[in-house]
């Protein structure tokens, strides 16, 4: 891995973390739709990256987010689960002819249809886990489902905007 790639990785990590806790933390639409944009840092890591490093990055990211949200462990648990499932899901979705080398699994590189089937299920799993653990001890069902679906849609739309603005075709952030 070249030093340039490492720089992009560390820079992206800090950037997503800071944006999440400083800007997006207070942005909750209608009291139900949270914007967990940091999930897309894990989703948009290069395709050939191995699962173990991804899980370790997810763990560090989760702890960082948890400290600011005062939800210690909850973001971590759901993000590590997402990181664990990510590569298996990528393999399932391999297009005919396989992926190109050094590719970012993003909207610009692989098209909208592929991107929706890649990111939406994973976001739903992450958000489902997060809000389920978070609401343990209450007997709320409908509000939790509202939060899961609302937040997933919000985060997905934000990710499309962010990718159109800040990502380049073929290369990572």
């Amino acid at each position: 891995m070249s030093s340039n790639r490492i720089f992009l990785l560390v820079g992206g990590f800090v950037f997503y973390l800071v944006v999440q806790v400083v800007l997006l933390k207070n942005m909750v639409l209608f009291g139900t739709s949270f914007c967990f944009l940091y999930v897309f840092f894990i989703l948009l890591l290069p395709i050939e990256m191995k699962t173990i490093p991804i899980m370790l990055i997810a763990f560090a990211m989760g702890i960082g987010i948890d400290i600011f949200y005062d939800t210690i462990g909850i973001h971590t648990a759901s993000l590590v689960a997402l990181a664990f499932l990510r590569n298996t899901w990528l393999n399932t979705l391999t297009p005919t002819g396989g992926y190109d080398e050094n590719l970012t699994p993003s909207l610009l590189n692989l098209g909208l249809g592929w991107y929706v089937s890649y990111s939406l299920p994973l976001i739903l799993i992450h958000h489902g886990l997060f809000f389920f653990i978070e609401s343990l001890g209450t007997n709320l069902f409908l509000p939790v489902v509202q939060k899961i679906i609302g937040s997933a849609i919000f985060a997905f739309l934000m990710s499309i905007i962010v990718q159109l603005l800040f990502y380049r075709r073929r290369r990572g952030i």
Partner: protein, 277 residues
């Protein structure tokens, strides 16, 4: 032996996944107590500093409403003070020591707040250096806000009233009936008043205030207004919904209260329990 190691190597990804998840679950469970370590939350030094800087910027946008509520509170306190002022023309009687309340008040600024989760916490910009201790009550000019959970040198974290496990001992003003206020995790504007028996007549519009029984809050700090009374589904208690007096969406400055007699009261309760045994 070799085949076992090979097998473990083959499932290494899964093993590391289980290991990391175990750590996360341990963190969740260990954080679930109402008073605990505060290293891994927003009141530690690094995150506290970042949140403080962020709040210093955002604060300017709410200055006018903060000023307004402070002026209102000032006016209220001044008029109250007028009643206690010693007058020259009347006789003055020394108050007996049994009327000494023993409550100490402090002020602090909210630098981090959440309202939309089911377990919400607030971070304040004062810590043990300023004499903040675990278990102090937190309120503002509108009503009850929460209770201190943990303290570091410069910051402290508060269990918000919008936390599904926090109970606040409360009473209905008009008929002096006691109950416990608890949030149900739905709407940050409403909470439930628990343990009010069915035979009690409760009217909509009645005020609910702190009872002063749990020695955290002094008596009479507003909690909210009753908006709905229903018979409980299966229990012997009424299902009462109250509209919270505090607007948690725009918390900026809060007061902290410490009961200097807490230890004495706790000691008394303990000795009472040992007699029961």
């Amino acid at each position: 032996m070799q085949s076992i190691l090979l097998f473990l190597y083959r499932i290494r990804v899964f093993l590391i996944f289980v290991f990391l998840e175990t750590i996360a679950v341990y963190l969740i469970v260990s954080n679930n107590s109402q008073q605990g370590s505060v290293f891994f939350n927003s009141s530690n030094r690094l995150s506290g500093n970042i949140l403080n800087t962020q709040n210093n910027i955002i604060e300017y946008f709410s200055l006018s409403s903060v000023n307004k509520s402070l002026v209102e509170k000032n006016a209220e306190l001044l008029s109250e003070l007028e009643n206690y002022r010693q007058r020259n023309e009347s006789n003055f009687i020394e108050i007996d020591s049994s009327f000494v309340t023993g409550f100490q008040f402090k002020g602090a600024k909210v630098i981090n707040n959440s309202i939309n989760l089911s377990q919400n916490f607030i971070t304040l910009n004062k810590g043990s250096k300023d004499g903040i201790k675990e278990g102090m009550g937190v309120f503002n000019e509108e009503g009850v806000v929460g209770r201190i959970k943990g303290v570091t040198a410069n910051y402290s974290s508060v269990i918000s009233l919008l936390h599904i496990e926090l109970l606040v001992s409360s009473k209905i003003v008009s008929n002096e009936v006691f109950g416990s206020t608890k949030w149900d995790g739905r709407d940050p504007k409403f909470a439930k008043l628990l343990y009010v028996p069915r035979h009690v007549v409760v009217k909509e519009g009645d005020q609910v205030v702190t009872s002063g029984y749990n020695a955290i809050f002094p008596e009479g700090i507003p909690i909210g207004t009753i908006v709905e009374v229903k018979p409980g589904l299966e229990t012997n208690y009424l299902d009462i919904t109250i509209e919270l007096a505090t607007d948690f969406t725009r918390l900026s400055y809060v007061y902290l209260v410490e009961n200097e007699q807490t230890e004495e009261i706790n000691l008394l309760n303990q000795s009472k329990e040992s007699v029961d045994e």
